[in-house]
Symmetry: C2
DNA sequence: GAGTGGTCTAGACCACTAG
DNA sequence: TAGTGGTCTAGACCACTCC
């Protein structure tokens, strides 16, 4: 484990336990460097980590301070690391099940080519899944994935986790996503499978998910019951 | 302007113009350092900037590569810098107007105290605004702000931009936000002011906005017409 | 084993804040 | 003006990838 990460952990611990109180300055970088038997550059790197997490902020010429909302931020971080779509947010506290409504291979349409950065000749999986939380329908998800990027998908994998398969079997890493979030009226499928009334809105999330090398591997549209969960977005400016 | 930022700009330019092609490795850090007459550490810092933007990724022992979706990412970035709530997303291409429905000062309730990290004795502004894009109602926003954090709010400021006032007059900086996004059925106000039909869903965004020092200065709930705009969330993993 | 990125150092100078 | 963070250097060693 890198030294600057260990130091960041120690400082984070001191913040959440109140050794470094909220709204007050930390010891300056030179003294922290002395204490941790390291160079100032390394200490600075640790503080940058904590700044990205929203725990501290630095003011040139003045000092590095604990942010007033530091304690709240430290709670959020665990959730963030695990965040993949919305389904995962609930993984801890509930049982999740999947029902496969459709699993096909076909050629992509124009929009899918554009989103997935592929051409018309490259086949894609066409998957529709219904997800349950504690036996109640929660979301319906339409996923399109390029076969050549994620080969070997089977129904068995779909009932478990695609992300686990990509990480474990294929050795690829999730690298980010762009999501569009909007509200919509329920359509036929929503009413049938999510058991929506005609006046029940749905929350729609359109996303393109990328591997670390920027190759898109999933373009999906998921539609959620409006009364089951929401989307949390945390945003910290670094400048 | 710091050298590492200039170098990042030059490399970004080379990526978007195709000098460094997508999916290929950049020159290694030592050679980039030579070219830019600098040290390897400085080059690395430039590459880290570009990695955060989603343009490149580095693989220890192998090289630094242009991400396949780099060109799409470079388009998104401009939008992101300007992102403050949802209203701003539209600022460029349309005329925005505000109508003040309510502007009061009162004591906060328990939830507001918790969100804004204040106690019951500290008064808050209680503001309700209706926003129009090109003369059509677009969102209705209920904002609560602590008076002692943002003093001197007037109706005139509200019709313009609170953020401009905070930055310009008070010299404070916006430092981040936590948002919860969900879909909901329209309530009385939505139907009256947003001109929603009873079956029209609304997109609700609950947010706490912070200054750079972590002091919450706004707790707001905005409700949007489902057919006018959505929320874009970009997420790049750095690990 | 050669090449590449990741980390770390010790010291320097600059830019900014605050009294 | 003193103190603090921001940047930069030149060199070193380590960890990892890939041939």
């Amino acid at each position: 484990m890198a030294k600057y990460i260990k130091i960041a952990e120690e400082i984070r611990e001191r913040i959440v336990t109140g050794v470094y109180p909220v709204d007050k300055a930390l010891p300056d970088q030179i003294n922290l460097a002395k204490e941790f038997q390291t160079s100032r550059v390394t200490v600075k790197k640790s503080l940058e980590l904590l700044a990205v997490e929203g725990l501290v902020y630095s003011k040139q010429g003045s000092g590095t301070y604990v942010r007033k909302n530091a304690l709240q931020m430290s709670k959020l971080d665990n959730q963030l690391d695990e965040y993949v779509g919305v389904a995962h947010q609930l993984a801890d506290r509930s049982s999740i099940a999947s029902q496969i409504l459709k699993f096909d291979v076909r050629f992509p349409n124009e929009l899918e080519c554009e989103k997935l950065l592929i051409d018309k000749t490259q086949p894609v999986y066409d998957i529709v899944r219904l997800r349950f939380v504690d036996d109640e329908p929660f979301l319906i998800e339409h996923t399109v994935m390029p076969v050549h990027v994620i080969p070997g998908i089977s129904e068995e994998i779909l009932t478990k986790s695609i992300y686990e398969y990509i990480k474990g079997e294929l050795g690829l890493k999730f690298g980010g996503a762009n999501r569009h979030i909007r509200a919509d009226k329920p359509n036929e499928l929503d009413r049938m499978y999510l058991e929506c009334e005609i006046a029940d809105p749905v929350l729609e999330i359109d996303q393109v998910v990328y591997l670390t090398n920027g190759v898109p591997f999933e373009y999906s549209q998921s539609r959620h019951r409006y009364d089951k969960g929401d989307v949390l977005v945390v945003n910290i400016k670094s400048v």
